[in-house]
Symmetry: C2
DNA sequence: ACCCCTAATGACTGACCAGTCAGTAACTAA
DNA sequence: TTAGTTACTGACTGGTCAGTCATTAGGGGT
């Protein structure tokens, strides 16, 4: 009952664990209040640190946001790229599989909140937006384009403009991500991301039949 | 050459024109810097006013944003509702027509910037987000749902989950709006909104065939 | 010409907060 | 035990900016 972890958490030295804890705290504070409304003291308090200690680990507030975005996207794209490039055979099952993976990213990870932060802060801090553009969008789009192009070449899909088709496919992911991070907190009814995506991919693939 | 409108624009009294000018100035400043980075003095300067005068027309900064959102969406939805309800016959041409109207909103109006502002500020100012949810999303969705349901009832479309289908249809609009307002300013290649939407609707309608 | 009302001004205030730094506590090695 | 090292603290500073208000200028009415 006099335990420090519950009541007051007295001063501790564990430099190895701090960065991850700070990032987790930052994500939850930023998601709750938005970047510019979030105070560094809030982040510090939630991480169980003083404000000063924050600055031992991150040079400034923007660095926190950058690290958050960087951590959230990780090396996941190059991973997916390898997976999709190596599998051959019909493309449709791959599209379905890819869509399911992305749906669970939207449903079960903080990705929607990261995305909202990127959108919100991209003109105040263009480096953030540019980082996302370079490392997520410009990585992911050619992979999906290649996938659809393969389907067209194999006669599995009819001839369409491939970059446009990629956006047709991805649009509803963006919509459900923002729905979750922006409108659900305001009281909108929850989206059934998996159901939506399953049906969307079905419509999309049928719509692409020759 | 000593004209006041070009060089210095001396103090003038024209209370009737001010509100619209202030809103136009606010939109351009907010779109450029984002809401929280935008200074009231910037808005005032761009509207050709002093900061103090701004407060004669709008009680505070958030009121400016609210008025902007309100003006941008106007009564356009109820208008569209009437149009779609009165026309009968096959649904597909109506979907195509509706999509073209929305595409031009994305392409030719500041709507994408308004949307970005709503997304960015909705947790700092939930009233803004809630206003958009109530007056845009919750107005527009039932209209499109009714349209698709009519198509299903008439045997024009196969049986699908209608709310999901609406999101499949609308996703790419959201994507192109945010592409224009967020990523194009960062150097991303421009989207051909009309081309994208034309093809998207084509895929969507073919994908819904019984 | 002179009021007088009201639009408009801009210097000012008060609150807020990112980032700093002199000092303190925890741990370590001798 | 103690001297040295490093993690951590929190009061403080400097700058920013939304919103205010005493004052000034415009211009219609008489």
């Amino acid at each position: 009952m006099t335990d420090q972890s519950v009541t007051k958490a007295k001063r501790q030295r564990r430099p190895d664990d701090r960065p991850a804890e700070i990032l987790a705290a930052a994500l939850s504070v930023f998601a709750e209040k938005g970047f510019s409304q979030a105070r560094m003291e809030d982040v510090a308090a939630r991480a169980g640190l003083s404000k000063g200690a924050l600055y031992l680990y991150f040079p400034d507030k923007v660095a926190l946001l950058k690290a958050l975005v960087q951590q959230a996207i990780g090396g996941q794209i190059s991973l997916a790229a390898e997976m999709l490039a190596q599998l051959n055979g019909p493309v449709s099952p791959l599209v379905i599989h890819l869509a399911q993976i992305l749906a669970s990213r939207v449903q079960d990870t903080p990705f929607p909140y990261i995305l909202k932060l990127v959108i919100a802060e991209s003109q105040a801090h263009p480096e953030i937006g540019r980082f996302y553009l370079e490392n997520v969008i410009r990585q992911a789009m050619p992979i999906i384009e290649a996938l659809l192009a393969r389907g067209i070449a194999a006669g599995e899909f009819r001839e369409v403009n491939v970059p446009h088709a990629v956006k047709s496919l991805m649009g509803p992911f963006l919509l459900s991500a923002l729905w979750r991070s922006v409108f659900e907190p305001l009281g909108a009814e929850a989206v059934d991301v998996r159901g939506l995506i399953t049906q969307h991919v079905d419509i999309f693939l049928k719509g692409l039949r020759p």
